[in-house]
């Protein structure tokens, strides 16, 4: 499988989605939507901002991973698992933050936020695998 192409493709589409989400958030600011801006909804605002930021950043990480995959001297030990972990993390992290802001409990995000640590672990695993592969000598 062409993992490099997979991540570059996923990364750019993901970037489109989360950049668009940024526009939506800006609109919520622009139209002063209370469900987003009221002090009672501070947690939602934080969670959705984090979802946007993480989604956008991880989209760029996917593009970088694809490019690294092409340029690196060797593949990660388990390329399929590494690739799937990175893509899953790119969905779970922003998705968890988003769901955590849909329904929340005061200063605590909703239970959807439980996806975030799972995504974080997968991301760290994928980053470690790619970093190790990229560091290997030719």
């Amino acid at each position: 499988m062409d993992y490099a192409r997979r991540h570059i493709r996923f990364g750019w589409w993901s970037l489109l989605v989360f950049a668009s989400a940024g526009l939506v958030l800006e609109s919520l600011h622009g139209f002063k939507v209370r469900a987003y801006l009221d002090t009672a909804n501070e947690t939602r605002r934080l969670m959705w901002t984090l979802a946007h930021a993480h989604g956008t950043l991880l989209a760029l990480v996917n593009v970088a991973a694809g490019l690294t995959w092409r340029a690196a001297p060797s593949m990660p030990a388990n390329p399929r698992l590494t690739s799937t972990s990175l893509i899953a993390a790119s969905v779970l992290l922003p998705g968890g933050f988003f769901l955590g802001g849909v329904a929340f409990y005061g200063g605590d995000p909703g239970v959807g936020t439980l996806l975030v640590p799972i995504g974080a672990v997968l991301l760290l695993f994928a980053l470690f695998s790619i970093a190790r592969a990229a560091s290997a000598s030719r």
């Binding site: 005061g106 200063g107 990229a134 560091s135």
Partner: protein, 635 residues
Amino acid sequence: MQYIRRISVSRSHLILVALVIAAAGLGVARVARIERAVEESRVAGRPVQLPDEGFVSSQTCRACHPSQYQSWHRSYHRTMTQIAAPENVAASFDGVAVDAASGGPMALEQHGRELWAEFDDPDDAEGRGRRGVRPPSDEPGGQTGVRPRRIKRQVVMTTGSHHQQIYWYATGSSRILGQLPAIWLTADRRWIPRRAAVMRPPGGAHVSETGGWNGVCVACHTTNGQPQLDTPLGSQPIFTQTADTRATEFGIACESCHGPSDAHARANRNPIRRYASHVAARGDATIVQPAKLPPARSSDVCGQCHSFWEFADQASERRANAHGLPYRPGDELAATRFIVQPTRNLDSPEMRAFLEADAGFIRDIFWADGMVRATGREYNGLVESPCFKNATDPARTMSCFSCHTMHQTADDLRPVSEWANDQLAAHATGNGACVQCHERLSPTHSHHGQDSSGSSCYNCHMPFTTYGLLKTIRSHQISSPSVQSTLATGRPNACNLCHLDKTLAWTAQYLNDWYGVAKPSLDADESSVAASVLVLLKGDAGQRAIVAESMGWSAAQQASGRAWLAPYLALTAKDSYDAVRYIASRSQRTLPPFRREELPRNSPQLLIKADGTFNADVVNRLVRARDNRRVVYRE
């Protein structure tokens, strides 16, 4: 690739660096926390804020309850006590000269973030630094007839922000505070002498407020306040005392109502516990939710400050001086202090002792029938209300939370400032609070137009008969208009506070026609002169203040006409009591310029003759019959 290999070689170093950074971060956070506490405890010259005894302060609550924190932060409860800083003071201190101060003029200065004031020393009764000018007898030095010395002190704390702001200076004696001789009126944006801000008769001995904050204000205007004077306030001259006054937090913060929260905060550091609680939507036993307590207990939470109470004995006063008040939210308030309620405990040994020490102990707080008449004691009114004391179903028992909410709810679309004014729940701004229980009341019950002010439950059953802070507020003892009560107590009834131009006989007749209330016997004046005019001319100072305020009330002006009010308010603006004069002048400003030709002719109930002149004989007779007893409200 060379670059990547370099990184690979130093991987262990990177891990080490990351660990060092993490440890340093934790260390800095810890040090910052310690340093903050040390900084406050090192502050000299004013009381300090130190978390203690299971209290953690609102900063800890904020992390998990941002919405509740925000609504509290915008409330006047928070700003009841603040450290004096340019952003907290309502008045300008930047090179301001204040003539309207008790004693001599006051000079205010701002140096950076420090606020300073120069004024006559209110505690210099012997008049050190004589200048040979005799001050009024109720001002500093008044008894000796010489001006006291001038002093310059740093202003360190403030009280209030809603209606008035009072300023406290460091006396230089331990943490004992003194009060500036002028206060700032927020709405008027002007200074007035301190003595003019309270209902107090002219003349009389000068009362120093020094130490008052430490010994009295701290109990209710802070969270977990502890006077820590060496002996309770008043037991010896204040300048022979020292104080280490402290509180968990200045202002009435989260833990004033929810109780000490350290255990709650600790327990909920565990996310599994938190989410189990969220998902199960169950309460948390580690914290008190006042709104979920039974009505009596929930009202006790408010009553800890909004009641008239005394220490049951000297031992409890000494304990409170050392450790703060023992009441904690959820407790039975009356078990921790003596609630002064003449209808219930007039014959108690405690009350007899208080009355022996001060004959006016009850008189200036309660009307003759036991209804509270001084502001800030709403709890005393609530517990005497039939909706509270006669209720048998807790779900239909009135409590403070039937009408008020301490956190503006998301469905309340009013501006925050409007909610913060009285912290009424959105449903309670109109008749909604009452129809929660009185849902079957006939729409014609009020006999007034449905959209008129006479159709408001509040206006008839919670009239403005409570006084304090230069204004009247609604009585919190729910009652029905009664001429009999007016005759027995002197308290103006709701009908005549709106229908200012009508007599007691007129009111008695309507109450009889509409509700079958028996008509009491009335004397000639009560039958022929408007009730408001009678009170204004012959009532005591507290009664005069209530009617003068009503004369500026738009609903009353609409019901009674405005043209005749100006002369009576002009007369009242010469009252011997500063507070009454102030209110009359304020009401006068709500009126259009006076035009004699617009006066109603031949209105005997208003003492206006056919030629448009006032019946001076009757006016003078009534003024001569005035109740001139000294009225001193405990505000």
